[in-house]
Amino acid sequence: MTEENHLSTVSDLFSDTVAHFIEALSEGVLQYESKEKDLWIRVKNSSWAKAAQVAKSINFNYFCFLSGIDWKDNDELGSEKLWQAPSESVESKSSKPPPKLVKIAGGQSRFQVFARLFSIEKKLGLFLKTDLDEKDLVIDSWSHIYKGANWHERETWEMFGFVFKGHSDLRHIYLPSSFEGNPLRKDFSLLARQVKPWPGLVDPEDMPEQPEQSNSKQSNIDESSNNSDNSEQS
């Protein structure tokens, strides 16, 4: 895509901001997209720290949060997979077009780091995203640019195992220091759910008019949430 194409996808509110980023990072800006008063920019991994400096220089001085995403669909999770979209066979009646791209401003790898900054003066939000190489989960630290990023990077390191280069104090924040594993990765299964599925999804008794369907988890889920909805409204 050319720069002109890019610029047309963002609202007028952000044309200056995007121009700034492209000027400073040139190749570093991969994709961007705006929605209402928020702008998403995906930058190259190597431009991550630079992007923060650019954002700060154009008055995005309020640090909101920084975290990570694991885009993996883990088929082994069994009853944990509530987020999964229903397959066509179950939801055949829906006539809607297939869902559009999930990732705003895109992404290629399994892991992404994203952060939100805000400009108090312009009252505009900015999301920065970057992809991480699964083999080498290293990214520059923001902790010397935005002080608030310090704890968020510690949390992200702990939850996802991303290493923030240049962070002076990368140690556990929530979990005990002997904790192993990265809980927010999709392959980190909840132990309790392996032993027993989440009781909120299991019907105490089957619906009277429906025959027992022990194999189809999906339809079980539907019934149970249907039930809970009914009970809440009555």
Binding site: L82, W83, D136, N150
Partner: protein, 390 residues
Amino acid sequence: MSNPSNWNQASYISAQAADARINIEIESEGTVLNLGPQHPATHGTLRIVVKLEGEKVVSADPVCGYMHRGYEKLTEVRTYAQVTTLINRIDWLGSFANEVPFILAAEKLMEVEAPPRAQWIRTILFEMARIANLSVFLGEMGVQLGAITPVFYAFRDREFVLNLIESATGGRFHPNFDRIGGLKEDLPKGWLQSTQQAMVKMRHFCDELEQMLLENEIFQARCKGVGVIPADVALNYGLSGANLRASGVDWDIRRDQDCALAWKHCDWKVHVLDEGDSFARYKLRLQEVRESTHIIDQLCQSIPSGSIMAKVPKIIRVPPGEAFVNTENPLGEMGYYVISKGGLGPFRTKIRTPSFNNISILPWLLKGVYLPDVITILASLYFILGDIDR
């Protein structure tokens, strides 16, 4: 669980080294105080490793996570309706305010909008949650500074608001009242009148505390000039809410960001103070409670009639997409970044809680103050443990 790569190993080593650093501090000269995890001033299980020279703080290192419940992970194994039960427990003093941004984010993804009456009721309950939350702060700040009486007044008058929340939602602390597309139920009969009466009482409570605590010379001597946060530092650390406005940054999400809720329909004022000290934070929150009562009064008068539930399917499936919605919660900016893949529950929820950022400034702020000021600063930053640890 995961096969640690080289980088993982390196990071574990750095974690061990960092832990060892704390241990060295404990053994070194000077007093090391463990404020917490069980300490009267942290009102929860926050631990602050404070290194003292006499009574002067040399370094302070907050250690959180004693109450970490892993909500971000748990939301991934819950349906949307079940998530609200969880997130009610984040800021447990103003629970309703936690539900709203999540529900708004889900509604944004589903492109559903609740009917006006539901938005009005949401706003009223949101502001009530603010009053219920901040009135605890107003009393508790006194307790932290040794004045034990205000907190009893706060809990006495907070009851008016809690009773109203209970009569409307059925839950005093954790209403779990918000639904995607509207609300669980309509308001009970006569509720709006009793709300307006209660708001008069809350304004009286504010006057009372203003005379008792805010105008007290000892209180002023303890708070003025203590824990000063300049505006640029506050922004850099991501402080929000009253902590930010007390540092002179004029930013309130209720006013400055487009929101489906009914704030834009009433006439109210965002208070900003320039001092940035503990006293300014207290004064600001007192004014905010007062402002909230005025907002509720106006909303009670202008509330539209109609349905309280938009048309949503019985089984809620949120279409794929990402949405971030933040609101001005009692403690500051609370936001939910919800990623959906089209299932019954969110694929990933990043919960941006205000207290986590608000107390991340502590190592910087506590350096060089006296031990009693540590308590003043902790109290005036006003955090809730569930809001830090999630």
